[in-house]
């Protein structure tokens, strides 16, 4: 019933829809705070330009936010539609943060976003500023709860298996909340979102600087984004979530795969800057290594080891064998033999039950697995090394590139020399896609790196799906591709249109195209470059 292609297609659909959703989320996280900062500046100084900044960047925020909401709908229900067994098996724990996210975060964010857009004439300045801060708070709280849920998938603490109800059940909500993996992921992810927001504002402001349009507006936006961005990129890099990779077995495996650490080296381990991981020989060809660095980054110490893949494999094979024993005891319990001895024996090994379930892919009865099947199941516990190795390095390279750009932006903005730095302005404009790419890479490292588990060491991905036909899955994938592509086209079209138009989109009469247009009308200029702004105005906003 569970065919390989069914599992692969379910994964494809989830990965597609999640990666797509995650194109819009980081910008919401970052831009909402930038809007709140801009509005605070407006309330404190009373300068009109700050209010215009909130309204204009708010328009772009809205265009992005709409797709964030749209694609988020899918995420809330897709666990049920396509991952029914997962939902049953871990809903007792995983459902809670999702429901709390709705009650605590989505309501806050979504109720106040309406007042943000429509409340300018209905609220006092202070009230409106608070509304904007609450939008930012809401979107960040939603990141907190979804990462508590996701952190639990990586490192499932505070829960245990109940053979009567055939599922994982919560034993400690506090442990789920304060899961160290979740905390580290939260800080890293929201900081990445702040960087995305900052890079977005820097890039588009640079466009106005390059075009020599609306300069005071652009400079002020640039200054806020560069200082906010600098703090954020430092946080992303310094508090990078490598530190979270030492907690729990899945995270250790992920770390070994990211670094293509085939062997366990004496501490502190060297960092492989580049190379070509070879899964066949379990070696990294043409490796360039920097001594000590990996050990320092990963363990924050000079004497703790980073466990290599070969050693992990040995450990995991042992756990698969234990898992067979656990599965055997589990079937006895299910069959009604609930003697204290059986229960005690099961409690002893039930942490390895998940490893036993890995064998379900090869033999439904688990306990009759052959040596080869055990070896294959153990081999499955290591995600593809090359994809992990490269995506991680792309992410980190982008991170450092952005650090350089943002630091320069901050420097020139602070010294008021930014107007002359046309090369930096160009670089920032073209760098707008970078944070989005880095965020997608980060998502890939975290989730592909979790394979073969949907819940680390507890539930294999291939058992987690709904029972669905391959044809149905192709059809739903086609539906998502169709809808999401059409929506993306509309989004990108509007984003370009309004980014090009700039603050003139607000129709306040204070900005470039409006001044030019009224000038050209009164001055009677009919042809030449002056006609263009008029046209742009007529396109309206």
């Amino acid at each position: 019933m569970i065919s390989e292609s069914m599992v692969d297609l379910s994964r494809l659909q989830f990965a597609m829809t999640a990666l797509y959703h995650f194109l819009f989320v980081p910008l919401t996280l970052g831009l909402s705070f930038i809007l709140a900062i801009m509005e605070s500046a407006y309330v404190m100084t009373g300068k009109q330009v700050y209010q215009d900044m909130v309204k204009f960047w708010g328009k772009l925020f809205g265009i992005n936010f709409a797709l964030g909401v749209t694609t988020g709908l899918t995420m809330e229900f897709q666990f049920g539609t396509n991952w029914a067994y997962y939902s049953h098996y871990v809903g007792d724990i995983f459902g809670a943060p999702l429901a709390i996210e709705g009650l605590m975060a989505f309501f806050l964010e979504s109720t106040f976003i309406g007042l943000f857009f429509f409340g300018w004439d209905r609220l006092t300045r202070i009230q409106h500023m608070i509304v904007t801060w609450l939008v930012a708070l809401g979107s960040n709280l939603s990141a907190l709860w979804i990462l508590i849920a996701n952190g639990w998938m990586q490192n499932p603490v505070g829960a245990e298996f109940n053979y009567n109800t055939m599922r994982m059940e919560m034993t400690s909500f506090v442990e789920v909340l304060f899961n160290p993996v979740a905390q580290v992921k939260f800080v890293h992810t929201v900081s990445a979102g702040y960087v995305t927001g900052a890079m977005f504002v820097l890039g588009i402001s640079s466009y106005y600087l390059l075009k020599k349009r609306d300069l005071p507006f652009a400079r002020r936006s640039f200054a806020i984004a560069s200082s906010f961005g600098l703090a954020a990129i430092l946080s992303v890099i310094l508090l990078g979530d490598e530190s979270g990779y030492e907690i729990g077995d899945v995270q250790k495996t992920k770390l070994a795969a990211i670094e293509a650490e085939w062997e366990t080296h004496p501490a502190p381990a060297a960092f492989t800057l580049f190379g070509l991981p070879n899964e066949e020989t379990m070696e990294t060809d043409y490796a360039i290594r920097i001594p000590w660095v990996l050990g320092l980054i990963a363990t924050r110490s000079t004497d703790e080891q980073v466990v290599g893949i070969k050693d992990l494999l040995v450990e995991h094979e042992e756990r698969v064998r234990n898992g067979m024993g656990a599965y055997d005891l589990f079937t006895q319990l299910k069959a009604g033999d609930e003697s204290p001895a059986t229960m005690a024996a099961f409690d002893e090994v039930k942490d390895d039950l998940g490893y036993g379930l890995l064998l379900k892919k090869y033999t439904p009865d688990v306990i009759d697995a052959t040596e080869d099947q055990i070896k294959s199941a153990a081999r499955d516990t290591i995600p593809g090394v090359a994809p992990m190795f490269f995506t991680f390095r792309i992410m980190v390279a982008i991170g450092f590139t952005m650090f350089l750009l943002v630091a320069l932006a901050f420097w020139h903005s602070a010294r008021q020399t930014i107007d002359k730095q046309t090369w930096l302005q160009k670089a920032l404009l073209w760098a707008i896609p970078l944070p989005f790419l880095a965020c997608e890479m980060g998502w890939f490292v975290a989730e592909y790196g979790r394979q073969p588990w949907s819940i680390g060491e507890v539930l294999p991905t291939h058992l987690s799906t709904s029972t669905r036909s391959v044809e149905e899955l192709w059809m739903s994938i086609a539906g998502f591709v169709l809808f999401y592509t059409a929506l993306l086209v509309a989004e990108v079209y509007l984003m370009f249109k309004f980014a090009r138009l700039g603050p003139s989109a607000l129709h306040t009469g204070r900005y470039h195209f409006e001044k030019e247009a009224s000038h050209s009308m009164t001055g009677g200029t009919t042809a030449g470059p002056k006609a263009q702004p008029l046209q742009a105005r007529n396109e309206q906003a």
Binding site: V69, G72, F77, G80, S110, T111
Partner: protein, 378 residues
Amino acid sequence: MDYEVLKLVWWVLIGVLLVGFAVTDGFDMGVGALLRIIGRTDTERRVMLNTIGPHWDGNQVWFITAGGAIFAAWPVVYAVAFSGFYWAMLLVLFAMFFRPVGFEYRAKVDDPRWRSLWDWGLTIGGAVPALVFGVAFGNLILGVPFSLDEFMRSTYTGSFWALLNPFGLVAGLVSLGMLMMHGGTWLQMRTDGALHERARRITVALAVLVAALFALAGVWIWMGIDGYVIMDIKSTAAAVTPLDKVVTTQEGAWLSNYGQHPWMMIAPLLGFAGLALTVLMSMMNRGVMAFVSSSLAITGIILTAGFSLFPFIMPSSLEPSHSLTVWDVVSSEMTLNIMFWVAMVFVPIVLSYTIWGYYKMWGRLTNQFIEDNKYSTY
């Protein structure tokens, strides 16, 4: 609270979320469905959209939170229902995709084709989910073809088209009609002039239609649909799975709750009384009262479905004993407890700032307002 009480409390809480969804998001979906029917000009349609502009997103969170709460409190329902109703669920999602983008993007380009495209999108985004939710409820009353294996993996053997049976469609029309009616009462409160008059007329027509369909569904259940009865269950107080009981179907069983607990009759009565009052108040041009009446009608109709099914949530026509009930689909006692307190703290907070938001945005919107603010409104 002991586990048994907690199970009942969570049936109530999920009910509150579903009613909250229908009363809040229901009117903005209704406005969406009415958009092309009573909004004749672009300005009129913009008036309609701007009355719900500040609120639709917050309202929609009732839907999302209901989904999350079902996941947290009834994981078995979340798994079995959403995977079984796969295409119905995707249809709802695809239709709802049009809403955030429709609201946000429609006014941003001044081109009749562009706006007409989003008008269709918003109509679909309002009407299709309303219809499908009703169809799903109708099919719950009929029983749906699924079974569970010993590992609790579910298999659903029905198809999407099988959901569109006559009774399912009647239930779907009740749902669509009542949410459109609700949207009509909202517009009575928030618009004036010709639009307001049209909203009044269509509200009256829809309320009459819904009353007829609701009565028809009732007679249908009474005369022609077998209900489900638990013959034996291991325990209602302990942790059990849907496999721990024996269920059979029986003629008229869906009405037996009303015999055993006559107070439950309040639900259908509230439904009919609410509909009658909606007609009356719309005719008397009392918009606010019409909206309140319509909200009561919706509450009564949803409660009627819940009371009839109780303690069932999703009966199985394939293996009646595998049916999902309030006793055997719940999370562990710890999770139910934690989530109960979370709800007790946050629902009042959410309600208070939601009400503040409505209070701040209150008032009738006119065509003139849209003309004066055409760059900053939807």
